[in-house]
């Protein structure tokens, strides 16, 4: 792949993306428009995250790519291979030894540290999109801090279901100013967004937006005093490593509807198993 620049994008494009990232870091939670490029993978498959990763990667970096918490899902494999070919950087599956982690739909279970960058792939960056389809309107609502519509939606959920019926892509407020879409992570992951030591960058390629959370930013999941936000997960321990604190995937294991629960974060799970932890379904 020598015909392409380091990490695929040319330096001018990277500079344009870095400027958008810096602007995003300066105004946490604000969606910065950027001139997203056509990438050699389809829109909706992580082009925003890939462009952000390409712009922040240096040859000394170690990259980890996860999808649904796992390093081995097909699209994570595909993106990791892309950077192995175009940037030649070292890759890893270990959360702790990665300097840049690109993710889709999860935040790793192991706490991230200073010096690490977490890059999210974002499908629809606008938290107000499903309440108001027009971009011209939602941008106005953000600039006027006009978030009443969102609170009404959450309130209507409570009056109909007794709960806020949003279980992923749960909206947050950043530093008391911008309402932000945390990408479709389960709301279980929301508490990790705030006060995180690592830099969090969000890239939406098709929608041409970048936004960011600098380290130790205040991020609060929207709720009401009498209906406080609650991070939830399947009420089981992991069948393989026995962890009780991790987000779980449900796996159907036989024709009779038998099922088990396993960590969605595969690196967390295998590390625990290697350390001797055992769940009830482990071999």
């Amino acid at each position: 792949m020598n015909a392409y620049n380091f990490a695929y994008l040319d330096e001018q494009t990277k500079r344009m993306i870095r400027r958008a990232i810096l602007k995003g870091l300066a105004i946490p939670g604000y969606q910065v428009p950027f001139a997203s490029r056509e990438m050699p993978m389809p829109y909706g498959w992580g082009t925003g995250g890939v462009q952000v990763s390409a712009a922040v990667l240096t040859p000394q970096d170690t990259l980890k790519v996860i999808d649904q918490g796992a390093d081995d899902t097909t699209n994570a494999v595909s993106i990791r291979t892309f950077f192995e070919r175009t940037a030649g950087v070292e890759t890893t599956t270990q959360t702790k030894s990665a300097t840049v982690i690109q993710t889709r739909h999860r935040i790793p279970e192991d706490p991230l540290t200073e010096g690490q960058i977490l890059v999210y792939q974002v499908p629809i960056p606008e938290p107000l999109r499903f309440l108001e389809p027009r971009e011209s309107e939602t941008r106005k609502m953000h600039s006027l801090e006009e978030y009443g519509l969102m609170h009404v939606k959450l309130y209507e959920d409570i009056s109909r279901h007794g709960h806020i019926a949003t279980s992923y892509a749960y909206p947050v407020k950043v530093e008391g100013r911008y309402v932000m879409d945390p990408s479709p992570i389960p709301k279980f992951d929301n508490p990790k967004l705030g006060d995180m030591a690592a830099i969090q960058l969000f890239g939406a390629g098709r929608e041409q937006r970048i936004y960011a959370l600098p380290p130790y930013t205040q991020v609060i999941s929207l709720d009401f005093e009498d209906h406080p936000f609650e991070a939830s997960k399947a009420d089981h321990p992991c069948g393989l490593c026995g962890a009780k604190d991790s987000y779980l995937d449900e796996v159907i294991i036989d024709d009779a509807g038998g099922r088990m629960f396993v960590c969605s974060d595969t690196n967390y799970c295998t590390a625990r198993q290697a350390a001797g932890h055992k769940g009830k379904d482990a071999a």
Binding site: E38, Y43, G44, A165, G239, V251, M260, S264, C269
Partner: protein
Amino acid sequence: MYVAVKGGERAIENAHAWLAEERRGNTDIAELSIAQIREQLKLAVNRVMAEGSLYDPDLAALAIKQARGDLIEAIFLIRAYRTTLPRFGTSRPVDTAAMACDRRISATFKDLPGGQILGPTFDYTHRLLDFKLAADGEIPDAPLREPEPGDVPHVTEFLNREGLIEDAPNDETPPPDLTREPLEMPADRALRLQALTRADEGFALGLAYSTQRGYARNHAFVGELRIGTVPVEMEIPELGFAIEIGEVTLTECETVNQFTGSKTEPAQFTRGYGLVFGQTERKAISMALVDRALRWEELGEDFEGAPAQDAEFVLYHADNIQATGFLEHIKLPHYVDFQSELELVRKLRREAEASQLQEAAE
């Protein structure tokens, strides 16, 4: 015993190998050459160049071959390649009045300077399957004639001289570049046209058709449709003058639309404009109709809520590479989100059942 799924990497490699085999098909059948696709599937090549925004028939033919004839996939290949190319400069605006026309028709005047030239069109063919073509592709020579000398003037210019059609003065403002700046609303006409010329043909066709059926109806006459080649010139700073660097085939459509006047404009004809790479007249006509519908605001017309009038709706959904990517991404695993929805639905059901039981007991 359950073992977490592994092997994504090998599965991908194997899938690619199988795909390559399927693309080639039965190896007893001769392989298609790029030249064959370029020469004999020219309209497919044209569509790929137009929507891929890259004028290169050989690359478009290669993309069609690689994509197994899936034109949107081929357009995607071209777009992804195009974005990596360096930019040496900008050509001068092409002069379509100086076009060497293969086809030039007007639906508004029976005869006019430059004449009506049907050119290589399907228009009056009877759509009967030609079984002879299945056996051999021998064709008789088409008769030749010397082209009329001189430029072919635009029909709208005749109307403009009488002040019957809105004036379209030269605008020297450099147009925005859709591929280098994020699309932001409101979009001016230059930007809208740029988005429409590479818009999905089917989407543009559907929108244009909807205006004909009454969703922002705006009766359009094809003032002129012309297809032919124009030279492309570029200013070379070291030389201080422009030189011709090649030529491209274009399809241009100018519609003349009824307009009875509005609060701000007198009664006169108005314009819709379409310009597309290659011989792509369905697309160029569609583009002109949608362009005209999108101009409601500047002409002081009412917004009827029709899709074709809504610039945000049209521009954000016209690009088939964006659309197909996002549509198809729902094939990717979503089990983390699905799991959280499962938990939520189970919880809501448990509560509903509990309250029903309670009501029954009472």
